[in-house]
Symmetry: C2
Subunit: 233 residues, 2 copies
């Protein structure tokens, strides 16, 4: 499991080594470090501006200026603004996939299920209420009318993937007799939104809100697990 | 309680009779019907365009054209685009306030608490997943960076008001010994997101999604109430 909330660095790292960076580079030498740096600078600048001003409010000119490259460099690396936007959003879902994979392994075999659920709830809540993650969710939701396929894809790969991994884990725990979850998909939804629902909803409507403090995060996670276990244990 | 999901008509009706419509009109005669119609046409056109193209993607010119009035009429009635946007968003929260008020009365005195919770869950889910309501939520979330005060105000008056009313009802039911909810605010969050969380999250990311069909809505509501009662009854 990741050791803490997803941060800016991660957002950038994921896309800077995306498919286009590897294209046309001799395999034995790996990608040219200068072109990787340029690409990373463009992704970082674009991420910052998209998250701050939205898709419409950001121009390739602004991105080039913030990345200190020419507009032509942006186009050479990413084709156009739409392609750049898509790569950034999809790139971030890799984080959710890693989180989901770790989650599944750790939970299904946990010797102490209530303790494992508590730990999972705390990590999940911390990861999802990190300001950068909330901003990205807000951005994708904002652009869902313009990019419906991208928004659906993001949902499938990020929250959807976590839900699917949770459902698999709950199915395994049902088999082991640790939980009574004959409908593991519904159980996953219940667990997830008991933990995240209220905090995430507040955060989506308040761009200046701070993520929950450590003590509050503990309380929210513990309360969610208590309710979940009352119904599913 | 309202008899069904919130619809377009309601969105428009609320703002068309807002403060500006009443201004400068002789009280004994009521508002001039023609100016009420004009105002309603502007609100309806603006609501349609904001929901479809967002705040930045909509111009006063577009609004005037769709409402078949002059730009000057728009400005005379609403000052500017920002003011018009704000009035529409705040106007809609009146719906949530009415829903919250009905909810509180009906639930606190319910003779059969599980049945009342089931009924409430179904109505709440139907209301919140109505396409027009999801679109408005998406719009407010989209514009949260540009209008943080408005987004917070919307959250306080709409989902926040419903949560507060639920918490009051759960406190009363705790007093009556019908529920064991020593922390009624948390209980309200749990109930709300057990019912709405997954469906609302999916809808926010998929502008073309249909609201849950009647049978699915029943199942989601029943499952949520079952989990809630296992923990709080």
């Amino acid at each position: 499991m990741p050791s803490g909330p997803v941060d800016d660095t991660l957002l950038v790292r994921v896309s800077a080594t995306g498919p286009a960076a590897a294209q046309g580079t001799p395999r034995e030498r790996g990608p040219d470090p200068r072109s990787v740096r340029t690409r990373a600078a463009v992704v970082e600048a674009a991420t910052t501006l998209f998250l701050r001003h939205g898709y419409l409010g950001t121009s390739v000119e602004d991105i080039a200026a913030l990345a200190a490259v020419s507009k032509r460099t942006v186009y050479n690396n990413f084709q156009d603004k739409e392609r750049l936007f898509t790569e950034i959003v999809i790139g971030v879902t890799a984080t959710a996939e890693r989180f989901a994979d770790h989650l599944l392994g750790a939970l299904s075999d946990a010797p102490d299920v209530p303790a494992a659920l508590g730990e999972l709830a705390r990590r999940h809540l911390a990861a999802i209420t990190a300001p950068q993650v909330v901003r990205l969710r807000r951005l994708v939701v904002s652009e869902a009318s313009r990019f419906p396929d991208l928004a659906r894809e993001y949902h499938r790969r990020a929250p959807g993937r976590v839900l699917a991994a949770l459902a698999d884990a709950f199915a395994a725990l049902h088999e082991r007799g640790e939980l009574a979850a004959p409908d593991p998909v519904r159980a996953a939804e219940h667990f997830s939104f008991l933990v995240l629902g209220a905090a995430l909803d507040r955060a989506m409507f308040d761009p200046e809100s701070e993520p929950p403090a450590a003590a509050e995060l503990e309380r929210v996670a513990d309360d969610a697990v208590r309710v979940f276990l009352a119904a599913y244990r």
